[in-house]
Subunit: 329 residues, 2 copies
């Protein structure tokens, strides 16, 4: 196996977040479940935006947030995801490239606008996400740059890719390209409802193609349709090489065939906005793996990166992650 040009490559829905602080009642008032991600159609975008208070715009996208965190931790990274050649598309491209991530996917020159996610942050620091997939629906197998994947030690895929229909094929193509080159495939389950929508396919993919699985407790128990966390963990460790499962303020559990490692969460003075917590946990963990650290340290690094991102508004790091990890390890 050739040396990896990239330590981590990621594929995901390329999204610009529209962040608002709002009352606890707003998600329900708009008819949406609080705390999860719901897809919205282009006929809903204007009406929802109209119901929101003044906002901040900031690049987002689950795997994009992760790869930016990995890049900030000093690793060589690449990202694939679809944007339109519009103002928000240029914002997305600028932010990810200026984070040091190689981003070769060309602009879509026609079709839907760059994807947007309305992120409603309630006073309890929970986030409710309403996603308009826009240009992401046209991300397909032809956008999987096999040369990039073949040169990446780990290819990280977000579960949300199972929502836009063509992305699913891209997903499988990327997993195959990675394994054909002797590389690893990592997957994040993304959201319990996303797991619910695509459960059989996820199980299939995990059994056949995933080496490293990221999930939170709700996603993992939804995947195995069980209420027992321990039961879900014991299932997953027989299916993947490494499973890293987050449990909010309880920290995380890393499970392999050999052992189960519980790791405490990094203490946070004030939780402001939980958006990106899972994304940045994965970033810290993957960076640790890429640096050849032991799994305990990977999980601690995940906790540090997650702790940083939940202490401010937005899903991308606001402080120097590399310095932060160095000061805490």
């Amino acid at each position: 196996m050739a040396d990896a040009r990239y330590q981590v490559a990621a594929i995901g829905n390329a999204i610009v977040d529209v962040l608002v602080h709002c009352e606890d009642s707003l998600p329900a008032q708009l008819g949406f479940a609080k705390g999860v991600m719901t897809l919205i159609g282009d006929d809903q975008v204007e009406g929802i935006y109209n119901a929101l208070p003044p906002a901040l715009e900031c690049s987002g996208g689950s795997a994009a947030n992760t790869i930016v965190g990995v890049a900030q931790l000093g690793l060589k990274t690449a990202y694939l995801g679809k944007i339109r050649d519009d103002q928000l598309g240029r914002v997305f491209r600028h932010d990810i490239q200026k984070s040091g991530v190689h981003f070769p996917t060309p602009y879509a020159l026609s079709g839907p606008a760059t994807a947007q996610c309305f992120v409603l942050v309630t006073p309890d620091a929970q986030r409710t996400m309403l996603t308009y997939l826009g240009a992401c629906v046209n991300f397909g197998p032809e956008d999987v740059d096999e040369e990039v994947i073949a040169q990446a030690a780990i290819t990280y895929l977000e579960g949300y890719l199972f929502d836009p229909p063509q992305a699913k094929q891209a997903f499988r193509k990327a997993a195959k390209a990675a394994h054909d080159s002797g590389r690893k495939v990592a997957l994040s389950l993304s959201d319990p409802f996303c797991v619910g929508r695509h459960r059989e396919e996820f199980l299939d993919l995990i059994a056949g193609h995933v080496d490293i699985l990221f999930a939170n407790e709700e996603e993992l128990t939804a995947l195995y349709q069980t209420t027992s966390f321990d039961g879900a963990v014991s299932k997953v460790r027989s299916q993947v090489e490494i499973a890293a499962v987050t449990r909010g303020s309880l920290g995380s559990v890393v499970a392999t065939a050999e052992k189960i490692i519980p790791v405490l969460a990094d203490p946070v003075a004030e939780v402001v906005d939980t958006t990106g917590a899972g994304d940045l946990y994965a970033a810290g963990f993957l960076a640790g793996l890429g640096q050849g650290r032991d799994l305990d340290t990977c999980a601690i690094m995940g906790g540090i990166a997650a702790g940083e991102v939940i202490s401010h508004l937005g899903a991308r790091p606001a402080t120097d992650l590399a310095l932060l990890v160095k000061s805490k390890l």
Copy 2:
């Protein structure tokens, strides 16, 4: 004089800010003076953006920031300013309307894109602004909704309007419409270099049309080409009814023909980003005037609003200004 439908109306350059934290050396590296506003052409936008780290997007514009602050303080407000029908234009419109401001100016359907300002925030919390005026260059007299102006107790104009050529005419038309209806005209000098570019015209306008003047120390001394703050204050009080002059951490001075009132700055735990300090001072002050408060209280309200906006990134209030003022007065 009929009762005012709006307590304050504002006219300004309608801009979306692109906010970055950067090294102290970046403004000079890019060839720009630190701490001031420089206009950039459309041929410079991409090159500068490319040299910036990842950013946040947020509605801005000097008078727009002010009027949003006034609206948040519970007053009836209107705003006039030009945006294109593009993604950033929709962001600008959403944010100002959702702040409770009446914003009747229609989208420009052709011509340059919505204006953008690159705001470079250095570790000393200073901001350097690089402004691409975009659609603002097409704001002209025809965009001055005389009905709105005639119905506003105070019309507030930003000095930056003297940069796009047609806006100058709009400026004069608005001032005339206000006075013809027995209303007041307020002006902010905006920036010492803006004052330098248009000094004679500012002097002319102030002598003939301005009742309430906002400036900081540098702008006022640039206007009267003096190094003496006291000398500049004594000049301005003979020319306008009320002059409110800010002096950074020293607070502000309110000068009228009868008296000079020095007011301390509101103490701020940590100054994060001074962008919008002057804009929000004007907001607090104008809101006080609109509520019929004495000038001391107006200046204190200005200081409270300015103190809020410099304690976080961005030029629009991030906390409930009305509650904040209530708790501090």
